[in-house]
């Protein structure tokens, strides 16, 4: 080995060792769940959980504050508007005493809730609509959700879009499965026949075109969460 190649070899080795040491503290926007950014996501989740009060309600707004329907963004990941499969029904399963399968008519017969709160999108915009549906806590009660289930996972027929939540946010009184928007039946571009809506999460956590709600003992991920978006995403 000549002096120059040895120097190169040593420099390369030192550089790799340095990178490995720094790897644990790296800040890489393309891998935001890793390194220092991932560590701080954990800190921020604890901070958000500490601030979360299951009894605190977001202010209910008046009809005048509703965003004009054409200004309320509609969003999906499928190229075409997702169409509900024939004989659509919602499955409620996981750690529950009584797994349920509910049609829209059966959901409509359950106690109805209306909530009109500000919607906060991860992009930074806000908008207001009223949402009619059934509280998720009501479904958890009907299905007999096991206390060991600390997480709730939501699946859809929008190209497999999905998300998962902490149980406390899912059972919040302003977290509902909505089949109506602004007093009319939910339209396909907003997630018909059934979508998740909540005052306490960012928009991407509210899965549209629902097919399945599962009560789980472990945390899973989500469509955007797996790509790098924050998992907890409370507001």
């Amino acid at each position: 080995m000549t002096g120059s190649t040895r120097r190169h070899f040593l420099a390369g080795g030192l550089r790799s060792a340095g990178l490995v040491a720094l790897g644990g503290l790296a800040c890489d926007g393309d891998r935001p769940h890793a390194g220092f950014l991932g560590l701080m996501e954990g800190v921020n989740e604890r901070f958000q959980r500490a601030l979360f009060d299951p009894r605190r309600l977001a202010p209910e707004l008046s009809e005048e504050e509703e965003t004009a329907p054409e200004d309320f963004p509609a969003y999906k990941i499928s190229r075409e508007l997702p169409v509900a499969p024939a004989g659509w029904a919602l499955a409620v399963r996981g750690l529950v005493a009584r797994p349920l399968t509910l049609s829209v008519e059966e959901l409509r017969r359950l106690p109805q809730t209306r909530t009109r709160v500000r919607h906060h999108c991860v992009e930074g915009w806000s908008a207001v609509a009223s949402w009619e549906g059934v509280r998720l806590s009501e479904l958890a009660r009907l299905a007999g959700a096991d206390p060991r289930a600390r997480y709730v996972e939501f699946r859809s027929f929008d190209s497999g879009y999905w998300s998962s939540w902490d149980l406390e946010s899912a059972l919040h009184p302003q977290t509902i499965l909505a089949y109506g928007m602004n007093g009319a039946p939910l339209q396909p571009e907003h997630g018909a026949p059934l979508r998740l809506y909540s005052a306490v999460k960012l928009g991407y956590k509210m899965v549209k075109y629902l097919t399945e709600v599962s009560f789980l003992p472990v945390r899973t991920g989500g469509y955007w969460e797996d790509q790098g978006y924050e998992w907890f995403a409370g507001v």
Binding site: P32, L37, A68, G228
Partner: protein, 231 residues
Amino acid sequence: MPRSKQPWLIRATHWANLFFFVVMAGSGLRILVAYPFLGERGGAYGWYLLQGMRPPDALTIGGWLAGARHWHFAFAWLFVANALVYFGYLFASGEWRRRLFSPRRDARNAWGTVLHDLRLRKEAPPPVGLYNGMQRLSYTGVLAMAPLMVLSGLAMYKPVQLPHLTALLGGYDFARAIHLLVLAALALFTVVHVVQVLLHPRTLAGMTIRRDRIPEETQNPQETRIPQETP
């Protein structure tokens, strides 16, 4: 006690703050790229003239929305922690007396400095102690804006869990506007600040490497034993 013009803790927090401010501003601008409008959907603020103007990529950090949000919410803690160390030292050490704006001492001096800078007055008013009045006014203004930056950020981060704070700042969308306007004000300050430092390069040494254990405004050596705060 002889006191350095710029104690080391002030220097350290100053430069750490520069780093954190760059990270917060860059990641914040990348977040703004995702929706470069102010005001809610269907109700954009008419007074905001830059609706739809995307901040240039070169000024942003994080690459995309999720990356930038992680940068922003990770470094927000360090930005605040550094500011708390600074404010703690500022008040515990008594440094605030010679740094913060006091109308009685600084108002006339600040006005005189403005007139001098506008070429309306020949002589610049001499600095009173560490700074002239205009310096104290602008540094104090920046320090007063920092809490507004943090509070408006918190209001946007937790509009439901911190409802009183959000309402106090005029709601989610107004808090967002405040957050951006404070950034604009701090950026403007930074530009003027850097120009002033280039015009007076000795101050850069004072904020970095210069060792100046000798007390300022000393006429005779005995005075070094007299506490400076004595009127």
